[in-house]
Symmetry: C2
Subunit: 354 residues, 2 copies
């Protein structure tokens, strides 16, 4: 059995109250006594039972997730993960709420942040828009003692406590490397479909991708970026026009959303030969992979990101250190063959293996 506070008290020859004072850093213990207690803690290998401690404390951490609204399926998936975390949250003495803001809208984000701070939350996670006024709002929040993490897309490192998301430069390099290998010696330029060059994650992905393209085989030509605003219809039109204008096109890297339009344009043009790499496993990219339209999908696990954000916010709210290595989010590579089937609504599953 694990040692308890009673065991420490007995071993150190002090009362429970004194042990409690030492454990919780309360005043009123002489240095020698404190040392005796700490020695006993050490020798017994005592570890606090967090479950019991939380039960006794009854403290709750109100957290807010600020998420862009709209039809971007990755964001909707992210929101679903937040909801899921919210249902589990009561067990972890955490109360999680989600609020919506229009995408790419810095003033709206600022307002949401200030509102959350006014409500007295313990921590905020937000998909950041990279703007000075947002950095200022985050500064106000942190000055008010509210922990702040950025989710998926980051901004200047100094403003927030932590970034919960992938290394997007590395993601771009990964896409570039796969593209280079899949294409091999095949000639032809590659196109890039982005949402907007105003958001940091898209800029970083492009940077990584372009760097690898420049290195590969003496350099492969990258066409001007198509900005589809993450909207399927615009993406369809842009890609369609690009395919028509460049019959020799060898590959497309889609680093944002709106992939339903991308797939539609490729199908309409009958260009299954184009090597396509996209981001995030969503309904359209999954279908694209299965039908051979998309060759590879890079994914960031939204569930991991949300859970990491909750852990980090709680740690920051308690003034505890964050183990950065533990909170790193992987860049997952999916091709047709390692794609798992989606879970059905109930969570009861298709067999994993025969």
């Amino acid at each position: 059995m694990r040692p308890t506070v009673h065991d420490i008290a007995a071993k150190a020859g002090v009362s429970l109250a004194t042990v409690d004072r030492v454990l919780n850093g309360r005043p009123g213990v002489r240095a020698v006594t404190r040392a005796r207690v700490e020695d006993a803690i050490e020798k017994l290998g005592y570890v606090r039972d967090v479950a019991a401690a939380n039960l006794a404390k009854g403290r709750v951490y109100p957290l807010v997730f600020i998420i862009p609204e709209g039809e971007n399926p990755f964001m909707r998936g992210l929101e679903a993960e937040v909801k899921l975390a919210a249902t589990r949250s009561s067990f972890e003495r955490t109360r999680i709420a989600a609020v919506h803001v229009p995408p790419f809208d810095a003033p709206a984000l600022v307002q949401a942040i200030d509102a959350a701070v006014a409500e007295g939350v313990a921590g905020i996670a937000a998909v950041a828009v990279d703007a000075p006024e947002v950095a200022e709002a985050i500064g106000r929040a942190r000055a008010a003692g509210v922990a702040f993490v950025t989710l998926v897309s980051d901004l200047a490192a100094s403003a927030r406590d932590h970034f919960c998301g992938v290394d997007n430069v590395a993601a771009g390099r990964t896409a570039g490397s796969l593209m280079a290998r899949f294409l091999g010696a095949r000639p032809g330029a590659v196109a890039v479909l982005a949402g907007s060059m105003l958001v940091r994650d898209h800029r970083e992905r492009l940077e990584g991708f372009a760097a690898v393209m420049a290195e590969a085989f003496g350099g492969r030509r990258v066409l001007d970026v198509l900005e589809g605003q993450d909207e399927p219809e615009r993406a369809r039109a842009l890609v369609g026009a690009c395919l028509a204008a460049h019959p020799e096109l060898a590959g497309i890297y889609s680093l944002g959303a709106g992939n339903a339009g991308l797939v539609a344009a490729l199908e309409a043009a009958g260009r299954g030969d184009v090597c396509v790499i996209a981001h995030e496993i969503t309904e359209p990219t999954r279908r694209g992979l299965e039908h051979g339209i998309i060759d590879a999908v890079l994914n960031q696990d939204a569930g991991h990101e949300v859970r990491s954000a909750v852990r980090v916010l709680r740690a920051k709210a308690d003034g505890l250190p964050v183990i950065a290595a533990q909170e790193r989010i992987r860049i997952d590579i999916f091709i047709k063959e390692n794609l798992l089937q989606p879970l059905d609504e109930t969570g009861t599953a298709q067999a994993a293996e025969a």
Copy 2:
């Protein structure tokens, strides 16, 4: 605040004792009363506070992990994850122990299983050897009310409660698909380095890989399997001989361990041009990726597998259902560009991003 048992009692107009009987399926409650209580539970949206329940129960689940000994780095990593789970285990009212058996040794495994059952454990997780005597031992364990899951390598589905590992046929197909794309139109046969065709996971990977090779571009020749017994030195000798005998060799699929030998042989022969796909991120495969000797590594996350095994064993021990979809283990693909740096011993990390 979340509703508690007291709220249910008040709402249903019954006592705490009756609520407790309903919640825990104890006898002594009339059908009408039970319905009233269940109605109140439903209406209030009551969810049991597991932490408090476990605290009150004080029940512990002794679990045993049976792991092959020897220098296979994946198995050593797996063991490290078990140790990690063991340190956390006391919080989850679980006591986890690890025992060693020689690899590929059915009688030793049988003995270890019987010993664990005799000790009165609640569940066993084992890297299975696919032999009838092992299936019988598992049958005895389950007849004695001990939950049993296979880890990493499976055997006949009927014998165990659950398999915690990847779909190895799909893993082989993934490897094949990557190999086909990386090679493109380049001619040449591919070699396969396995540990032993006696273990099921290696057989299944080969099956998936060979199937894709047969489909690709009218069929690419797969040489006879090299069985290196997962030992680096044997692997080095086998691969060295194969490279000498087949100067036109285009690719090598290493589906088992012993990859230190594989990398050494390739380096000695100066054959950086050969496309190499291996399994499991370990010290040698990581180095191979970084140096460009290995092109891709398929990985199963040992930590996920161990945690999944613990969850499943506890659920089975309690007679609860397992959400299979939640317990599926992904096949991760790593190339040089998406490889995360290893954590250092303390877990304090290198920066994830700038």
